[in-house]
Symmetry: C2
């Protein structure tokens, strides 16, 4: 699945091409970079290579050569976060190419496709398999385990993964590596000819039975085995008729046992009890199990080294046992680990970058570090890792006039979120620019806030920090692309909308029959500001006008940048009873409500300045009508300047680079809209001659 | 060196004891926890153990048994930061106890003693050796290398380290480990009987000569060896008369060569050229050298694994070579790594905690997680890792009336620093509560700010984040303990002092002859606030009064907490021409100037509330006179509430816990001051009955 769109763009100007490439990584929705479906894997060049490799070679793999295959079942928002921490731990220690086989529900696929596409880890191929399709294969098994149907899916992997795949490591999402996964893969070399499944003994007394009255576990060999880490010898499993084998066993046991308690693990153990020759016991360090009643200590106290930790209690990191602190620290290491640092190449191996990455690298390498706008160019070319819907989210039900508030923020504006939730009772799509560690702080912040944790209609998209300039328009585009309602309110995080705005906007959209009009409209929400830090928010337009007259409120940036909102015509707005149309004028940057398929923001504007202005020009060029809403308003709250803005406010170079960006933007505009774009250029030239 | 002060405290109440323990770690200045001088090491239980260990044992060390010795020369602020990153990389991979032998100047010793005492890494012993004492041993050697005299000190280690020490690994501060240091130690086992020094070949053509016209390097065997990583077999070196040997060689070479170019490395190479039998060549991966003209690629492209990276260009991380990005990522991993995660015990080894840590852990374990104030108790018992003078600093010259501004902040107040520097032109001691990654951001922030990087009289002390509550008083105490002038101005970061305040305070101290008075005084700096975000700062008391009358300024917290500053008596201040004395009253919390040996802040107050009130009570109890200065003022700027405060503002539990803390504080007060403390308790009871 090589990307097909690329060659067409090659003729265009360099910057334009690169912006396209960046855009492709950020917003492309087509499967690519190995993100195919099962079908696309048949021709996989690595899957078959291992099949004929002898055991000896597996023990001593030639550098760079052996591609390891890892299969993981992953569903929902929480597991999608877990799997990333697991993958960070694997990537930190690995020295071989990896092929991930992810069995996902729609939520996890959406998240992880975007994540891996934008992460761009060299020598990692990712394939997705639809868990929905597998449900019928296991849904007949009654199961009491918290992993639900998804846990059982590990049983059907031999028939789901491509035939060309001879061996695979199967992992639960709640394991953490503290060693090179190649060492685990090499244990296939220790299998006898008959052995098909590698497992670590279960480190609790569960399968011995009698833990409580009427405790009747599934049959197992001794203490049984844990299936958090499995080595599956796929082609041998097919040869011995695995599918029939486990189904027969399960059906027979289910005659007397009402359901599985531990999902797939019960069935694996029942099969192994009957066919002990099939199992290859793995050293206990490869699956150190940290449940409440773990007996893992017997294993790890003697071991020189731990390899894989398994948080197999439903309490996960909150589990209590004697060494929990030690294990938690190992896990926390990767929880906040900067994923970008894992994008290093495999050492001394030929490049194995996903498609497009080398073009990006070449473009970056061609930049002149001495050029004054180098940081701008570099930032524009940076593809940020994106984790969409970082927290649990309930998509809004389809409603024809619904509006999503779209905004972006970094850590220093987190305290705005609760107030925003109180002011806007509709769906929101927010992009957060964070480090990996800050993303964890953010998670805890939401969990401990009753206001925020109650709101499931707010989607948070984490864009990971990289580079010195705030990629404001890339962030806006991420949030915009993830809005799920027909309309979006393009706002900024330091504005609080009128309490009535959400209802009023939906009513206005309906009244104006926007959906049915041929002409495109941008509804303007007039912007105000207070310079007072303590401030009582007006409950109506009448109250707002009183505050305005008293001087406690101003129209937004009236003193510094009146042209930004001049066209809104605040004088007319005071008296207006109905929406009125206004014309674009230079530097206009109102906050608007538009259909969600509106033009994207121009990602070349990084840092501060002109980022909204360019978007409004784009709307005007595409003949959107600007309609000011008479009852709508939004108020900017004061805050200290962000670190990002402080850094550049006083820099003349910064202003020069911004001017260069503006000019390039206008060149592109002329190219796309021809003479219709002349008025914008004239306006720019006038403003320059005034300056 | 076990701490001797502990048993005396055992009889006191539990909380008091624990506060003492915490205080001991934070502020103790006595050498302890292995932080002795050379002399104290003679009885070191580990140094001699290895001496009789056979080579075979070294190759297969028994778990937990082998103590590895590492010697590092470290001088100045920058190297003190570097060595921490190096140590993080070592600690991340190590599985054995370590004994660090640090040869330091006064600056590095001060920083690193505090750091290791508060880091409390299990199974790490640290000994310090005074580099000043070693200077005469090497200062006769002319040297052109940027490491200066300190680089040469590696030559004299065999005579400086304790006789009981048989072997040691010597590291430069600019190396990064990506492997277990035990593997390096085990290479001693490969030495022949004659070999005394293990070194990696130099990965450049330097010693081949002819790099440019008249390039005449010191003699070396072929390409020579690099001394960034050295295995020194100390007792054998002594047996062969190393000291005479290298001195003779150096003196002879210096007859024709004017100076060393690469410090100790030139001399090591010259000795080896004469006595090639002394060197044991180490595999190249143990010192991958990343200079500008590195030939390291020959080594690392074939290697399966890199072990140690050496940033041996003066450009350090900014060095340019083909794989610099790859190596930088390995280094950056540890640069921002949370040091706390390295405090894990050695796995399955007996506890090897520094003294006092187990008491702390027991106290923590005794806390009841279900108790409502659990988080407070836990936070009070948390010992934070402290990195004093994180950036280069020039201590102020001794002046009898000089004043240091003392304050604390976290990342969200960084943008206050430039304004503060413009308002206060004297020395400052600031404690910053940061994560390891934020500390790196902070470093870049200062480097890119012309205002901040020009100021060498501002000392920044990083206190590493740990726990949910802001340890405000612990931070204040760190900043206070590091103030070096006779007087301190105890301020808060969101206040800007009058432009004249620094000069005025020094003049007032001199005029009031504070140093010569028997009675102790606290000079009160009246506090004001503006609620306006954009604000023009008054240049004089007259201008301030005009703003006050116009309502653009208020006395601080006039509306919410008038009792906090009521005693200052703003009405009297308006007219005052001379300092006037005021009496303590309940909840008084002025900003004061006091001698730097004033009482410390009570660290039990974590989070927000009453933290300054308690300190002012303490001053009053110790009979400090409060003198309000007629021309002094300081103005609070508005800001969004910090995340820390937002979290608790609305929590009733929080207020209950604060009340409990107040009561405990008063109990201690009565214990210490007897009936003199009665008035504070009465005031508290009155305020409670009013509530």
């Amino acid at each position: 699945m090589l990307p097909r769109g690329r060659p067409r763009a090659l003729g265009a100007a360099l910057l334009l091409l690169l912006l396209l490439v960046v855009g492709f990584f950020l917003f492309g929705r087509d499967p690519e970079y190995g993100l195919g479906t099962t079908a696309t894997l048949d021709g996989d060049p690595y899957g078959s290579r291992n099949r004929s490799t002898s055991s000896l070679q597996l023990l001593l793999p030639p550098k760079c050569e052996v591609m390891l295959h890892v299969a993981i079942v992953c569903a929902g928002y929480n597991s999608s976060r877990e799997i990333i921490t697991l993958m960070k731990s694997v990537l930190f220690y690995r020295k071989n190419p990896l092929h991930l086989h992810l069995i996902t529900d729609a939520v996890a696929r959406n998240i992880l496709e975007t994540l891996f596409r934008t992460w761009m880890v060299p020598a990692v191929v990712v394939s997705f398999y639809d868990a929905e399709e597998l449900k019928p294969l296991v849904s007949w098994i009654p199961n009491k385990h918290y992993s639900g149907l998804y846990g059982l899916m590990k049983l059907v992997l031999p028939s789901v993964l491509p035939l060309s795949l001879a061996r695979v490591i199967v992992l639960d999402t709640d394991v953490t590596f503290s060693s090179d996964i190649m060492e685990l893969w090499a244990l296939f070399g220790h299998f006898s000819d008959k052995q098909v499944v590698g497992l670590v003994e279960n480190q609790s007394d569960w399968y011995l039975g009698n833990l409580w009255k009427n405790h009747r576990p599934w049959p197992a060999l001794g203490r049984g085995f844990n299936t958090g880490v499995i080595l599956l010898w796929l082609d041998r499993l097919q040869q011995i008729g695995w599918e029939q084998m486990w189904k027969l066993t399960a059906k027979r046991e289910l005659l007397t046992l009402t359901a599985t308690s531990l999902a797939d693990q019960d069935i694996f153990n029942a099969v192994i009890k009957e066919h002990p020759e099939l199992v290859h016991p793995l050293p206990c360090v490869w699956n150190v199990q940290l449940s409440d009643h773990t007996l893992a200590e017997r294993c790890y106290l003697e071991a020189a080294d731990l390899k894989v930790i398994h948080w197999n209690s439903p309490k996960k990191l909150r589990v209590k046992n004697k060494h929990a602190e030690f294990f938690r620290d190992l896990h926390l290491t990767f929880l906040g680990f900067d994923g970008k640092l894992l994008c290093r190449e495999l050492f001394g191996c030929p490049n194995q970058f996903p498609p497009g990455v080398e073009q990006l690298q070449q473009a970056l390498a061609q930049l002149d570090e001495e050029e004054p706008c180098f940081e701008f160019r570099q930032q524009q070319l940076t593809v940020h890792r994106v984790h969409i819907t970082f927290l649990s989210h309930q998509p809004p039900p389809p409603r024809p006039h619904d509006v999503t508030l779209v905004a972006q923020l970094s850590m220093d504006r987190l305290q705005m979120l609760e107030a925003l939730c109180r002011h806007w009772r509709g769906p929101m799509s927010l992009a957060l620019y964070l480090t990996d560690a800050e993303a964890q702080q953010f998670l805890r912040f939401v969990e401990t806030s009753p206001v925020l944790s109650a709101r499931k209609d707010v989607a948070y998209h984490v864009v990971y920090r990289d580079g010195p300039l705030y990629p404001v328009n890339q962030l806006r585009n991420v949030a915009l692309a993830q809005a799920l309602t027909p309309y979006v309110f393009l706002s900024d995080i330091d504005f609080l909308p009128a309490y009535s705005l959400y209802d009023y906007l939906r009513a206005s959209i309906e009244q104006l029959a926007l959906g049915r009009r041929q002409r495109k409209a941008a509804l303007v929400v007039p912007a105000f500001e207070t310079l007072h830090y303590r401030f009582s928010f007006p409950n109506s337009k009448a109250e707002l006008l009183t505050l305005l007259d008293a001087g406690s409120l101003h129209t937004f940036r009236y003193h510094e940048w009146p042209q930004g909102h001049a066209s809104t015509d605040y004088t007319r707005w005071r008296e207006a009873q109905a929406p009125y149309r206004v014309q674009w004028s230079a530097d206009y940057e109102p906050y608007v409500v538009v259909p969600r398929d509106c033009p994207r923001y121009d990602p070349r504007f990084v840092g501060f300045g002109w980022n909204k202005v360019a978007h409004i020009i784009e709307l005007d060029a595409q003949e959107y009508e600007f309609l000011v809403l008479p009852e709508a308003f939004s108020i900017h709250l004061p805050h200290a300047p962000s670190l990002d803005i402080s850094r550049f406010r006083s820099s003349p170079t910064y202003r020069d680079c911004l001017q260069a960006l503006k000019e390039e933007f206008h060149q592109d505009l002329s190219r796309r809209y021809g003479s219709a774009a002349l008025k914008y250029l004239t306006a720019l030239q006038q403003s320059r001659s005034r300056a």
